[in-house]
Structure formats: C-alpha cells, structure tokens
C-alpha cells in the first residue's frame, strides 16, 4: 500500500496524527459511553493502526519531511516503532490491571497517547526547539500519568518529585539552548554544528553543552541525575512505570543521539572542537551510570525499585554509544534499546500482572512462584537473564553488538574505550547477582502459599509477545538489526 497516496504531505507524521486524534477523542468517548472497555478498545485500535502505518512506512523505506520541521527517515522509523511497541504493551494491559482501571480512564489513555506523540515528535526533529517541545509534551503528560493514582501517598510523593526535578531539568535545558542560540543565531542542529566548526570551542559553548547534557541527563536518569527514577517507578502504577522506564527513557537517549552525535560527528566538528573532551565526559557518565545503577540495585527488596535501578544501568550501557560515537556503536545501541523494550517491559508486566493476582512487590513475595505460576516464573527468568546478558537471549545479542563497539571497529582494536567495555562487562556480572536473587526466590525458595496464580488474559498476551521477542531477537536478530543499521546509517549520512 502506498502511504503517500493516502496521507499526502502528512505521510511523515501520519503515525503521530493517528495518536493525536486518539488523544483528543478518547476523553469524549469515555464521557459519552461511560464504558471503560469501549474506551480501551478504541485506544487499542488506534495504537494498532498507528503501528501498521509506521510498519508500512518502514517497509517501503520511506523518507520525507513534513513542513520543514519533521523528518522521517530510517532512524525516525525505528524510534517511532520502539515507542509504539511500548505504548501498545502499556495500553493492552491497562484495562485489565486493577491499578489503572480505577483511574479516569479517558484522561489516562489520552495522556498515554499524548506522551507517546511527544516521543515520536522528538524522534523526527532536527531542531532544538522542536525537540524541546516534544520532550515537554512527554514530560508533562508523564507527570499527570504518575499523579493519576492520587489517593496513594507513594504516588503523590513520586509525582511531586517528578514534577520538581523535571521542571529543574527543563530550566537547565532551555538555558543551554538559549545560549547556543545566542552564539550561533540558529536552533537547527546541523547549522549549529557548522557554525561551531567555524568559530571553534569557547567557554560559552562549553557551558551551553554542559547544561544541556545535565538537563537531558535528568530525563534518562543518568548518574548523578538519577535520584528521582526509583521513587517514580515505584510510586506509579505498574503499566505507567513500564511505559516510563522503557519508553520515555529512550526518548531521552534519542535526544542525546540526535543533538550530540549530529553536532559532533555529522557536523564533523568532533575532532575540530570539543570532541575528545565530550566523549570522555560521556564515557565517565556512562561508567558511573551503569555502576551506580547496578550496585544500588543489589540492595533493593522491592522488585519495582530493583527494576528501576536496573533501567538506570541499562541507560548507562546505551550511553557507551555517546563515548564511542561510531555508526556501528549507534546500531548496537539502537538494537539494545529495541530488545530492552521487551525484556524490561516484560519484567514490569509480570510485576503488574502479579499485583492483580494479589502478590506484592517485594522480592520475598515471589518465593515459590515457580510452583504457583510456572509460565510466569519461567518468563520472568527469561527476562531477567536476558537483562543480565545470558545467551541465547535478546539481551545478550544486543549487548554483544553494543559492548563490542567499545573494543574496536573494522580498523582493528581501538584501545581508547577498552576500559569502558571492561566496566560494562563487569557490571553485567554484578547485575547477574541481583537478577539471580529473584530467580532463586521463584525457583528455589519455598513460598508460604501454593495456590495457583491466574492473571488477566491481556497480561498473558502481552507477556507472551515479550517472551517470543526475547527469544527470537536473541536467536535470529538479523531483521531487526538490519533496521538498526539502516537507522544508524541515516543518522551518520
């Protein structure tokens, strides 16, 4: 099917438009029908439609612009796909989860769709201002999503924390952007790159960069800007936590790729100006992020907090891309982002499903789960081992590409980042310890109850999707990795 024939000038933003329409009509549908299942069904249909359109665009290798503001290419297509999958998993389970069905469902789905629209908008933006707008759309929707569970004091605390820290990071970002605009007279990233190449590095530019790195560092919960994440993921309802941990974090990482890689690599300004210093800065942030995430995760007894810290660590792994700054690294990073959706998303979904079945969030609540819910325990084990990077699961394959990019390239071994690869690999080993603790609780320890667990069907569907993806992407990653390579090539073109 030719998408341009249907959507014309709007083809590039077609997947987004569907969600925008959804975000606008869903509260109305809920208001008129008073039936939350109907609202859910409409939301789900729209999400699937949006995925279908995007899949078509990817399949026909569409590239195009909308209003000189939004560029759709292989990179955008892949990122949009990632966000859509997260959204799909989130929406799919929301009507079955006791945590989300008591909310204002019209607003809830509208916010989910709105937040995703923001992410998708960011993925196609090559201008600091439009990136800023997209990020804010996502952030403000997320604040509301967290605070929807307002009767829960943990959620309220999480929401307040999230808003205050989010606001501060926004301020930092806009400060950096305004300085860059003052220096270069433009907000288009490519133009900024070209300008700074002429003028060279100066301290104003450095301050602007640092405040932008800090500002967006909050969004991806990079150390030392990570403190909010565990509280928010713990406080929010589990489908929302899943959405934030796997979706909005990737938007932040996308922003890093789009702003800094373009500025330093595509603009070929890397060696000319701040290249090596910025690369080292990113390497240090990456090393600290993965180490702090993993080490603190060991001490957690609440599984949602543990997963939150593990997400921090995973973001640290992906930041290796920012240190290495090669096309191959970016392909590996994107692939890891893709696999992370299923393994981390799957783990959160199981937590959410078990909450519906009356099982708590403590790791000790998972004792003896293998007897009570053999499939869920097995799936959880797959997700956790995949996160730890045990072959032949998806997490291993993506880490294989990502970590290897720090060791070398076609030009042989580059000793510069070998230390980073060592730290990353050491971290993988540390992470195995706390993942294995959960596996041990499920499989080895005896639980207090032997009652069988049954979970709502939508959760089962979502979890099965994740299980299949984690295995298939591990054993046969070819198709998705091709997409990632194309995306990386588009970024470096």
């Amino acid at each position: 099917m030719d998408m341009t024939a249907i959507f014309g000038d709007y083809t590039a933003i077609a997947p987004m438009l569907i969600l925008i329409v959804g975000a606008l009509i869903l509260p109305g549908i809920q208001l008129l029908s008073k039936n939350r299942t109907a609202t859910w069904a409409v939301a789900l249909v729209l999400v699937i439609a949006s995925i279908a359109v995007n899949a078509m665009l990817i399949a026909e290798e569409f590239t195009g612009k909308a209003f000189d503001l939004y560029t759709y290419d292989a990179y955008t297509g892949l990122m949009v796909l990632i966000f859509q999958v997260v959204l799909f998993l989130g929406v799919l389970v929301s009507n079955a989860s006791i945590e989300t069905t008591r909310l204002h469902v019209g607003a809830y789905y509208a916010l989910l769709l709105g937040a995703t629209t923001g992410m998708m908008f960011v993925a196609g933006s090559m201008d600091l201002v439009s990136i800023f707008i997209g990020v804010e759309l996502t952030s403000i929707s997320s604040y509301a999503l967290v605070s929807l569970k307002r009767k829960d004091s943990r959620a309220a605390e999480a929401a307040v924390k999230y808003v205050i820290i989010g606001g501060m990071s926004t301020a930092l970002t806009i400060y950096g952007i305004s300085m860059l605009y003052g220096l270069t007279g433009t907000t288009v990233i490519n133009d900024i790159a070209a300008q700074t190449q002429l003028t060279g590095m100066n301290w104003m530019f450095a301050i602007a960069l640092v405040s932008m790195i800090a500002g967006y560092g909050f969004k991806i919960a990079a150390v030392p800007f990570h403190m909010w994440a565990p509280d928010v993921y713990e406080g929010a309802s589990t489908p929302v936590s899943m959405f934030l941990a796997t979706g909005s974090k990737k938007m932040g990482l996308g922003v890093f790729f789009q702003i800094f890689l373009i500025m330093f690599v595509s603009g070929t300004a890397c060696s000319a100006i701040a290249g090596p210093e910025v690369q080292y800065l990113f390497a240090i942030i990456a090393a600290f992020t993965m180490t702090v995430g993993n080490v603190v995760a060991i001490a957690q007894n609440n599984i949602k907090r543990m997963l939150a810290y593990s997400s921090i660590a995973q973001a640290g792994y992906i930041l290796i891309v920012m240190a290495v700054m090669s096309e191959y690294a970016l392909a590996g990073g994107l692939f890891h982002m893709f696999t992370h959706v299923f393994m981390k998303g799957g783990a959160f979904l199981i937590v959410g499903a078990l909450i519906c079945a009356g099982i708590g969030e403590k790791i000790s609540d998972y004792r003896g789960l293998a007897k009570r819910a053999p499939f869920l325990a097995f799936a959880m084990m797959l997700f956790l081992f995949s996160l730890a990077g045990i072959p032949p699961l998806a997490g291993f394959t993506s880490k294989f590409f990502l970590f290897s990019s720090a060791i070398g390239s076609l030009d042989g071994v580059t000793s510069q980042w070998v230390w980073l690869a060592f730290i990353a690999i050491l971290n993988s080993a540390i992470s195995l310890y706390y993942y294995a603790r959960v596996v041990k609780a499920m499989y080895v320890e005896k639980g207090t109850s032997t009652e069988k667990v049954s979970i709502p069907a939508p959760f089962m569907v979502a979890i099965v999707i994740c299980v299949v993806a984690v295995i298939v992407l591990g054993v046969y990653p070819q198709i998705v990795f091709d997409l990632c390579e194309a995306a990386a090539a588009a970024m470096f073109a």
């Binding site: 030009d411 071994v413 690869a421 310890y433 080895v444």
Partner: protein
C-alpha cells in the same frame, strides 16, 4: 543424501530436553525413558562421527547474522581434538541417565537439565565460530545452576550461585578477548567485515603482533583457567561438587571442566602462539601449583566427594602442564589426559555419590570396613582410585606419565631439573591420599559410628553404568593408541603451524 550429523548432535538432545521438560504430572516417571532414548541416539550419532572416514567432511556452515560490518555463522566442525570430547559427552550423559534411573524428585526437570547441558557441551566442542562458541559456553551454565540448586546438598544455594557468578565473570573476560581478536582479525584480513569464524580469525591472529597476542592470551586464558579450574581460581569447584547431585558432578568434572582446557588448546594455542610462548612459564607455574596444591588439598578433606573434587584440580593441572610444555608430546598427552580424566572421574563421582546415597554419609572418618558389606561397590572404588593414581594398564597411566616425561624433556632443555620434583611430590601425595582414603573407607573393622543396616550394594542400573566405564578405562589403558590415533594427526598439524615443537 547427506545427513547433517553434527547439527543433529545438538538438535537431538535439544528436542529431548524440551520433551522431558513438559512431561509433568503422571508422565514424570517416563521422563527417564525419553531421556534415555534421546541420549542413546546422541551417542550413536557421536559414534558415527568417531568412526567417520573423513571427519573434516562433516563440517557444516550456515549463515546466521550478516550485517554490513559483521558476519556470524552457525559453523560446526570436528577434528582430533574435539571428537573424543564429543564422544565422552554423549557417553557420560547416557550413563548419567542410566545411573539416575531412581531419581524421584521431579525426574522430568532433572533429565531436561541433563539434556540441555548436553546441548551446550556439544555446541562448545563442535563450534567453529566464536559467537556460537560463546553462546554454547554460556548455555551450559544455567542447567548446571538449576541442577545444583534443585537437586543438591544442604548448602546448594550458596554453591550454585557461586558457581554461576564465578564462571560467568570469567567467560565475560573471555568475551572481551574474543571481541579484540575479531576486530584485529578484521583489520589484518582487510575484508571490511568482522567475521567471527574460527577459520578466519585464528590464522589471522596467529600473525598479529606479539604485544596483542600477549594481552589477549591473558584475557582468554583467565576465562578458560577459571573453568578448568586451576589454582588460584579453583575455589568454586569444591563447593559446586560437594553440593551437586551425583549426575551433575559426573558431567561437571567429566566434560565441563574440559571446556577450559579445550578452549586453551583450541584458541590460545591455535590463534595466539606468540602469547603462549610469552606466558609459557606462568602457565607451567600455575600448572605445578595446581598439581601440588590439589593433591595436598585432598589429604586434608574428610568428605570423600570433596577429596575427589580436589583431585580433579590436581589432574587438570596435569593437563595444563602438558599444554605448557608446548611440545608435541606434551600437548598430545594433555589431550589424552583430558579424555582419561573424563572417564576416571566419572567413576569416582559415581562411587562417591553412591556412598552418600547408600551409607548416609560421605565423611571418611565415619566410614570403615565397607568392603565386607558392599563388595561390588568396593571393587569399583578400588578400580577408580587405582586408575586415577596412574596404575599402569589403566587409562590414567597414559594420561599422567607421558605428560611428566614431556615435562622432563622441557626442564632438561631449560636447565631447571628441580621442577620435576613437584611432579614427583604430587605423585606421592596422590598415591598417598587415595590409598589412605581407601583403607579408611573400605577396609579394617566395620564402622560402628553409623548405622549400616540399610547399606546396600551397587544396584543393577548403577552397575551397568560403572561397568561400561571400567571396561573403557581398561581398554584405553591397554590400547591407548585407539585414542591417540585421533589426537596425533591434530597435534602434528599444530606442529606444522609452528605452534608446538
């Protein structure tokens, strides 16, 4: 029609593992039959490979992951180094299935884990692509983890997690070495693709700079040495063995430890000859340390099984000593020792497992005079101990003494004759601890410290498993050429490449 026999060696146990996994409830008791059938088919396939006219022609290769920068293939091959290990794996898995016929605690999972382990082991020994090699290397971990933590002894949780993390860390270090080799090879060959096949990387890296080989050798050697294990990376092994169920111990010591020495020969020697030369003395020092420390450790043990675990460290040190000589004789008999130790240690762990099972304790001081009540058990234990201490006529002799002889040549050439004393010391210690243990366990007055009324002799299934091993131990002891005829062509090929002298 060509049968993809090597792929089948992986696929058959995989199907078996999945089949037994789902045999819950009433069907549980048939799991052992299904596992037996699948492992028997695997053994037949392994024998077909062993007696194939041209092993090289069996190699298979399928494209797996091809990107613009990376080529990963599913490539399997066997040669003189791997074929004995493939045979040993298939044999031991079948024997463990026979031995564990009486396992009553969730037998379906037990057999699924066994067969899953076989998948990984077969994969490691046949892989000819670094990606596949690493994947299979890690695939062996998880079944063993569950084997220990579900079916193990009282401290199984601790032992299982220690085993898991210790060896996982080591393999991650190895992975870094693999990355480095792959990228360096891509640069040397200049094909513009990072190809992970052994046939691309090994020859290319063998020509890399000495500095590179030295560093990468250290990374890979660490990964393999932990698996073997050698002192000072051995601490996970006694715990894992003490707590593992008998079947798990047999596979762990019989074939899993050999993954380490196999990796050293396959990768560290084939691809990194300059590195091997550079580190030769370190390898020898570690080997001697393991041989003596392992043997010394045996004397101190009161748990029969833990003693055998320590003896594994000593015997795997012997393998490493043979490798460290970097001579044709040394490597040849190191490989033979891998095979020999696999057979012998399987007997030892089976016998030790039985001790705990039948008598109720493995504590040597509590045992005594068991020979009267359990004559068959005593016979098997004696044969195992004698084979292990290197009695001529049994397979262990051909593993140890030629290695010591090769080492003797090496120390003469290097004016360090005194080093041979370590070997002699270990021989004495080995003979000492085995005889002492045997005397305290089997002979003398029957023990009164424990209740022996329920002690019973070797059962029929256990007897079959042990008898097969004893026959092989004697067969290869009398006619070592049967195994050496596989090893020698491989080692002379190494010599032609200039890897060994």
């Amino acid at each position: 029609m060509d049968i993809p026999i090597l792929s089948l060696l992986i696929v058959v146990p995989l199907i078996g593992a999945i089949a037994t996994l789902f045999m819950g409830g009433e069907k549980q008791k048939y799991a052992k039959v299904v596992a037996g059938v699948f492992s028997a088919i695997t053994l037949v396939l392994a024998l077909l490979v062993l007696f194939a006219d041209d092993m090289g022609a069996l190699a298979e290769s399928y494209a797996w992951i091809q990107t613009s920068a990376i080529a990963i293939s599913f490539t399997l091959a066997v040669d003189g180094l791997s074929v004995l290990m493939v045979f040993l794996t298939a044999l031991l898995v079948l024997l463990v299935v026979i031995l564990s016929a009486e396992e009553e605690d969730r037998p379906n999972y037990f057999h699924a884990l066994l067969l899953a382990m076989e998948v990984g082991l077969m994969g490691v020994y046949m892989a000819a692509d670094y990606f596949l090699f690493y994947v299979m290397w890690e695939v062996t971990l998880i079944p063993m983890y569950f084997m220990i933590s579900w079916y193990g002894g009282p401290r199984r949780h601790y032992a299982a997690i220690k085993f898991f993390i210790y060896t996982h860390v080591a393999s991650l270090v190895m992975l870094i070495g693999i990355f480095a080799m792959a990228f360096e090879a891509a640069q040397i060959t200049g094909t513009g693709v990072v190809d992970f096949a052994f046939s691309v990387i090994n020859p290319a890296i063998a020509g890399a700079s000495e500095m590179f080989q030295v560093l990468v050798f250290a990374l890979l050697f660490f990964g393999f040495a932990v698996k073997m294990p050698v002192v000072p990376f051995h601490t996970w092994l006694p715990d894992a063995h003490t707590e593992a169920p008998t079947g798990g111990s047999v596979l762990l010591a019989g074939v899993m430890l050999k993954m380490g020495s196999y990796g050293i020969i396959r990768i560290c020697l084939e691809a990194l000859p300059l590195g091997a030369e550079y580190w030769q003395w370190v390898v020898i020092a570690i080997a001697l340390l393991s041989i003596v420390y392992g043997a010394y450790g045996c004397i101190a043990q009161t748990d029969l099984k833990k003693m055998v675990a320590f003896s594994s460290i000593s015997h795997m040190g012997m393998v490493m000593l043979g490798i460290g000589c970097l001579s044709e004789a040394g490597v040849t008999f190191a490989i033979f020792q891998m095979f020999a130790h696999g057979l012998i240690t399987a007997i030892l762990f089976m016998v030790c497992g039985m001790t705990g099972h039948k008598v109720g304790t493995r504590e040597i001081p509590l045992l005594g005079g068991l020979a009267g009540r359990m004559p068959m058990y005593a016979l098997f234990m004696m044969i195992g101990f004698m084979a292990s201490l290197g009695l001529p006529g049994l397979v262990g002799f051909w593993g140890e003494f030629p290695v010591i002889f090769a080492f003797y040549e090496f120390v003469i050439a290097n004016d360090a004759l005194w080093l041979i004393l370590f070997c002699l010391l270990s021989l004495m210690l080995t003979a000492g601890y085995y005889l002492w243990a045997m005397q305290r366990t089997l002979f003398g007055p029957e023990t009164t410290k424990i209740d022996l009324t329920h002690a019973h002799d070797v059962s029929k299934t256990e007897g079959i498993a042990l008898a097969v091993l004893v026959v092989l131990v004697a067969f290869f002891g009398v006619w070592p050429d049967a195994a050496l005829s596989f090893i020698e062509p491989y080692v002379s090929a190494l010599a032609n490449m200039g890897v060994v002298i």
